[in-house]
């Protein structure tokens, strides 16, 4: 081996070390960057005609476990669905109330019944009559609060869908651009690891919003489709279209709200579910919350409101001689009576419209004695409790609720309200429990992903030491060869 060859080898060693050093420093710099895939060095000995001629080092992106990545993304979508649904349900459940704090909707019925019970004992007392009116107003307020919470949660879900769609569209555009760069990089043999990292980060963003599957074509382009098989990106990104509704109230039918379309094809989750409807992801969760979960609670609330109004109409003996359609203690839409035969569609939003009949409300110029005598007029005997007993009996008796409310059909108002309140809380707890389980799985998978592709600072530090030594050794080789040349030249001179 000639001295020139020795210098060449040492020089290649220095170059190799510098490249590896650059890779290690990049790793250390990005040690805390989420989604960063560690780079690793591939060092190869060079041979020319069977003789060693130095070393070559390439720094490449470490291989990514695609199965693991898929699982992480599927679990992220699952977690997103559950988190969004749990949050929407919690919002309503918080307002509906906890049985322990005596402010639940069900307890408002208990309070109304106990106020009537107290009035039964002393029907002539004006303060107890007003207590009944207050209890009725409290009940109506509770209905209104829960109804408002439902509509606010639906509006929020709609906004969340809109934000999610914007995120997905932007991310898909970004991925489309990055796909091109990846293809160019592969063709031109350029380091594209940063591009791949960024593309993975954008795919992660999409995966949180929509459950997706991906595969990569030969030229490195990634293709994205929903888990239900609708292509979102294949060469070009397809635009997801959603039109936000600024304010949603109970009278806004589900059918009039925007779905989610891809090239005119609706993929929003519907009931019954279509084969290509979205199932997972935050967007799917928000759709399910907006159009199914919260609408279900709304139906239950409206069914309860209807039976409340109807009970106080049917058991009010004074109304027997009044004009048909005269409202009882509670009024429905526009202050009118509630039709006992109205179906579920006709009473949508009734809970938010329920009010105490102004005739019995002293604050509206009414006479609170009507809660004792019936809404059609005051009787002359102050101790008469016939009507109060009729109302109390009505509250104790079972009623038949609309089966579409999906709770016990034949029960008391209070029983139905208890099931409704408890159901909200239980649904919230169940969804949170499922989300917690999903979060644990997601975090475990995510940790595995980090460990597979992340950076270990100590390992990189160790590499730095080795590289430092290697660099010093190569430099020493050059130094020695230089001295040998000097010695040689001195002797020649």
């Amino acid at each position: 081996m000639s001295l020139s060859a020795a210098i060449f080898n040492a020089k290649s060693g220095l170059t190799s070390v510098q490249r590896q050093l650059a890779g290690a420093s990049d790793n250390i710099a990005n040690a805390r960057t989420p989604g960063y895939v560690a780079k690793e060095a591939r060092v190869t000995a060079q041979n020319i005609a069977g003789f060693g001629s130095g070393v070559v080092a390439d720094v490449v992106r470490s291989p990514v476990d695609s199965i693991l990545l898929r699982d992480v993304r599927l679990e992220a979508a699952q977690l997103g669905t559950l988190d969004v649904r749990a949050e929407a349900t919690a919002r309503v459940a918080d307002v509906s109330g906890d049985p322990a704090d005596e402010r639940s909707l069900a307890f408002a019925f208990t309070t109304l019944e106990t106020r009537f019970q107290e009035l039964f004992d002393q029907p002539e007392r004006a303060d107890l009559q007003r207590q009944v009116v207050f209890a009725a107003q409290n009940l109506v307020s509770k209905f209104s609060e829960v109804e408002s919470a439902i509509q606010a949660a639906r509006t929020e879900a709609d906004l969340r869908i809109s934000d999610g769609v914007r995120t997905v569209n932007q991310a898909l555009q970004g991925i489309e651009d990055l796909n091109r760069k990846v293809a160019e990089g592969l063709t031109g043999d350029i380091d594209i690891s940063g591009v791949l990292d960024e593309r993975d980060r954008l795919i992660d963003l999409v995966a949180e919003q929509i459950g997706i599957r991906t595969f990569t074509r030969d030229r490195g382009e990634v293709v994205i489709a929903t888990t239900e098989g609708v292509t979102l990106l294949d060469g070009e990104a397809r635009e997801l279209v959603f039109n936000r509704t600024a304010v949603i109230d109970a009278s806004t039918p589900v059918g009039t709200l925007s779905g989610l379309e891809v090239d005119g094809f609706d993929i929003s989750p519907r009931s019954p579910r279509g084969p290509q409807d979205l199932r997972t992801g935050m967007i799917a969760g928000a759709f399910i919350a907006r159009d199914q979960d919260l609408v279900g609670f709304q139906s239950q609330l409206d069914a309860l409101a209807k039976q409340t109004a109807v009970l106080f109409q049917e058991t009010d003996a004074s109304l027997a001689t009044a004009v048909p359609g005269t409202p009882g203690l509670f009024t429905g839409f526009g202050g009118a009576a509630v039709d006992p035969l109205a179906n579920a569609t006709a009473i949508v939003g009734l809970a938010g419209q329920l009010a105490v009949n102004p005739l019995a409300d002293p604050d509206q110029g009414g006479d609170s004695r009507l809660v004792r005598d019936g809404l059609a007029g005051v009787v002359t005997t102050p101790g008469d409790k016939t009507q109060i007993q009729a109302w109390l009996t009505g509250l104790s008796n079972t009623r038949t609720f609309d089966p579409s409310a999906d709770l016990t059909e034949t029960t008391t108002l209070q029983g139905f309200a208890s099931e409704l309140s408890a159901g909200l809380l239980t649904d919230r707890a169940n969804l949170e429990g499922l989300a917690d389980r999903s979060r644990t799985i997601f975090e475990t998978l995510e940790l595995r992903r980090f460990n597979e592709n992340g950076v270990n600072v100590d390992e990189e530090s160790e590499k730095l030491l080795e590289l430092e030594q290697a660099y010093a050794a190569n430099a020493q080789v050059i130094n020695i060869v230089a001295r040998m040349f000097d010695e040689l030249l001195a002797r020649i001179a």
């Binding site: 307890f107 019970q117 002393q122 102050p382 980090f450 100590d458």
Partner: protein, 375 residues
């Protein structure tokens, strides 16, 4: 080869674990402070409906217990009043019975005792609690019994009415004008008793003439509700205990009739023995004398009082059952809502230790670096 772990992954994992532990610690701390489960829905799941139902029933039972308290207060007061009425009637019956066959020396005092008895009965019937009269049925704001010397809404006082009936100066009512203050024979006594019968037993009240109707028990002596409720209460399961006032009213009709007869007739002036006996004890067939009316009315009132006592006992039994049920409900609520203090405390300590260990480990791990050992 062992795959190295990601520094960032480990930090993120540790942070996540620490956050979870801190959350659990906050929950345990909250449960220790309040004694209640932090998230009941999560803790008891499907039993939440039961808890809501139990709480509803507990609340309703509290209302029932308040009603029972009101009932007992009223029943106690009414029982006292009925006892006083019985005593007043007994006093009158005693003195009247002595003079039942013929007027003795004490006959002159019967009138005084009768008036006194009427006043005592009226006062007892007009008992009230918090401005609410107890013996008038639904007419709780009107005193049920009209005092002897106070005019009713039409202006007639009971004693004036009786005076007019007995003296026959009933003008507008158009009664016979014969003065029967001292009945001369059995015919006049029978006529006298018949007039009182018309007044107290509903004859005049059913008369088509409004003027005649005024001369009646219903319109002058008793201002309460007829065929109404003496006392009632709503108990658990929407069951009702109700005693109507029919028996008491009938007793009062008889007692008032007998007492007013004795208060208006001058017994010691009646010279005809048959007339006298007819007045006091009637005949054995159709006509009841003053003493018969008093005795019969007293028995009816006693039956009403007994009935009241029985209902009181039933309500008391219901009270005991409700109290027992609420004690049971309370235990169930405590079981469902309250956090077990020992379990919570133990959990808190465990989490605290775990958290301390995690903090220590995190701190040690974060300070570990290869450079610390090679520089």
């Amino acid at each position: 080869m062992v795959k190295p772990i990601s520094t960032f992954g480990q930090t993120a994992f540790r942070n996540s674990q620490l956050r979870r532990l801190e959350g659990e610690l906050a929950t345990a701390s909250q449960e220790i402070a309040t004694g209640k489960k932090d998230d009941i829905a999560k803790a008891i799941g499907s039993e939440l409906v039961s808890l809501q139902t139990i709480r509803n029933q507990f609340g309703e039972n509290q209302a029932y217990l308040r009603s029972i308290s009101v009932f007992k207060q009223r029943a106690d007061t009414m029982d006292g009043s009925l006892a006083e009425i019985e005593d007043a009637v007994n006093s009158l019956v005693k003195v009247a019975a002595i003079n039942a066959a013929s007027p003795l020396e004490s006959a002159s005092t019967v009138q005084l005792v009768a008036n006194s008895a009427i006043d005592r009965i009226v006062a007892s019937l007009n008992v009230e609690i918090g401005g609410r009269y107890l013996f008038g049925g639904a007419e709780v704001e009107n005193r049920p019994a009209q005092p002897r010397d106070v005019g009713n809404l039409g202006g007639i006082a009971p004693q004036d009415l009786v005076s007019e009936v007995i003296t026959g100066t009933t003008g507008l009512a158009g009664f016979p004008t014969t003065d029967l203050t001292i009945p001369a024979d059995i015919v006049e006594t029978t006529e006298l008793l018949a007039r009182f019968d018309d007044v107290f037993q509903g004859g005049n009240a059913a008369n088509v003439s409004p003027a005649v109707q005024e001369y009646s028990f219903e319109n002058t002596f008793y201002n309460g509700e007829l065929s109404g409720t003496l006392i009632d209460i709503r108990l658990p399961n929407n069951s009702y205990q109700r005693q109507t006032n029919d028996a008491l009213i009938q007793g009062l009709r008889d007692v008032f009739q007998g007492a007013y007869i004795l208060a208006s007739v001058e017994l010691d002036q009646i010279t005809d023995d048959d007339a006298y006996q007819q007045l006091m004890t009637g005949d054995d067939i159709a006509i009841a004398g003053a003493l018969d009316l008093l005795a019969g009315g007293l028995a009816t009132i006693q039956r009403a009082r007994t009935d009241l006592g029985l209902r009181y006992q039933q309500v008391e039994a219901s009270e005991q059952a409700t109290l027992t049920q609420n004690a049971l409900f309370n235990n169930q609520i405590v079981d469902l809502e309250n956090a077990d203090p020992f379990e919570t405390q133990t959990r808190f300590l465990n989490i605290e230790k775990q958290l301390e260990a995690s903090y220590a480990a995190s701190s040690r791990v974060l300070s570990l670096s290869l450079f610390n050992f090679i520089r």
